[in-house]
């Protein structure tokens, strides 16, 4: 598990450095001073790795999890890091919530009139 994590972090770091060689990236326009931006780089890679392993521990296949995290922005990955258990997750199972709607609807109908 730990070795998978480490491999992930390394590959994510490599990916993010590689993509910016030579050209200044779109996300670096409002760049912070060099030392700080390197630290942010590492933090971003860490939060991505964290979300990948959290998804994996919650039943998502590791390759799928990696692809899923790759399509997130740094900010999005940070917002999920350490919080995947608590952020809202839309579910909606069969039928019973319609009963809840009816109750709420009746209450609101009273107020609306």
């Amino acid at each position: 598990m730990k070795s998978i994590c480490r491999a992930l972090i390394v590959s994510l770091l490599f990916f993010s450095y590689q993509s910016t060689a030579g050209m200044i990236g779109t996300d670096q326009i409002r760049a912070a001073p060099a030392a700080q931006s390197e630290r942010i780089h590492v933090q971003n890679a860490l939060s991505r790795a964290d979300v990948v392993s959290a998804l994996q521990s919650m039943g998502v296949d590791v390759n799928a999890a990696r692809d899923r995290v790759a399509s997130m922005t740094d900010e999005e990955a940070r917002s999920l890091s350490g919080k995947l258990h608590s952020v809202p997750a839309g579910a909606g199972s069969d039928g019973w919530w319609i009963a809840v709607i009816v109750v709420v609807a009746l209450l609101l109908w009273w107020r609306w009139r």
Binding site: S57, S71, R111
Partner: protein
Amino acid sequence: MTTVERMLENARVFAGVFFLCAALGGCATVFPQTAELRAEWPAGLPQEIELSEVPFFPQTEYQCGPAALATALAHLSLPVTADDLVKDLYIPARKGTVPVEMLATPRRHGIISYTLAPRMADVLREIAAGNPVIVLQNYSTWPIFKFWHYAVAIGFDAVSGTVQLRSGEEERLSIPLGILEYTWKDGGNWAMVVVPPDRIPATAERARYFDSIAALERAGQPAAAAIAYEQFLSRWPDDLGASVGLANAYYAIGHLERTEGALRRALDRHPDSVVLLNNLAHTLSEAGRSKEALELIERAAGDGPHAKTVGETRALILQRLAQ
């Protein structure tokens, strides 16, 4: 009438009066946005509209996320079904889908996802422009227990004060605007639309929409991002970020001529931008024009935040010239 019946009758009247007071006093605080819409319908917004051609994918089990997103994507004629999206969206241990992944998944299809400003009027404007809006609702009335659900808003009617949804197993669920607002507020009034890269959402705000395109570029879709940046620049031509983004997207798909063109157009507007100078110098050098590149990179010299990259570009150019 017996005493018991009279007491019951009184209780009923009492309850009615109590409710009415709560309603009159509380309406604007419980449903501020609905109250505002009732007071004044937004200018330029039709009284009613329904995008009845929006497809419907009834959700199975806990998969309202895949169903809602498939509804919006299939409306853009993408050949996806709710089942296809389960592997991209569903988290088994949560029995659900998180909003971030609702935004991230369309990017893999070269589609832009845009988070709306938290205003109900914006939701209605997007619908009126032909964009179904995915909303995150909490259907629980208890404060401790949350019941999150995604639905797709496809229509509204100002006269009856209702909004129409594709929701769960309901192909057409019509609910009062007030209920939408009430169930919508716990999730921070979260709503999104998906648009093809050549179309700007009706309520697009500059910074917010730029972030949406940059996210598409970041997700490995430079060709789609380039189209979107072009559209963005035709509306906001002086945007430095989008100019850099456009050039980077062209560079990523290996189109050096277009990269150069985009950077030169941007340099006319921002002649001192270190980012533009560095990226143009790098591009020209890649195209075997290191002499021109050297002149440009000299103009970028300095000790700003990009000094390190500029130094590397300059070293590379000098190395190529020496060969």
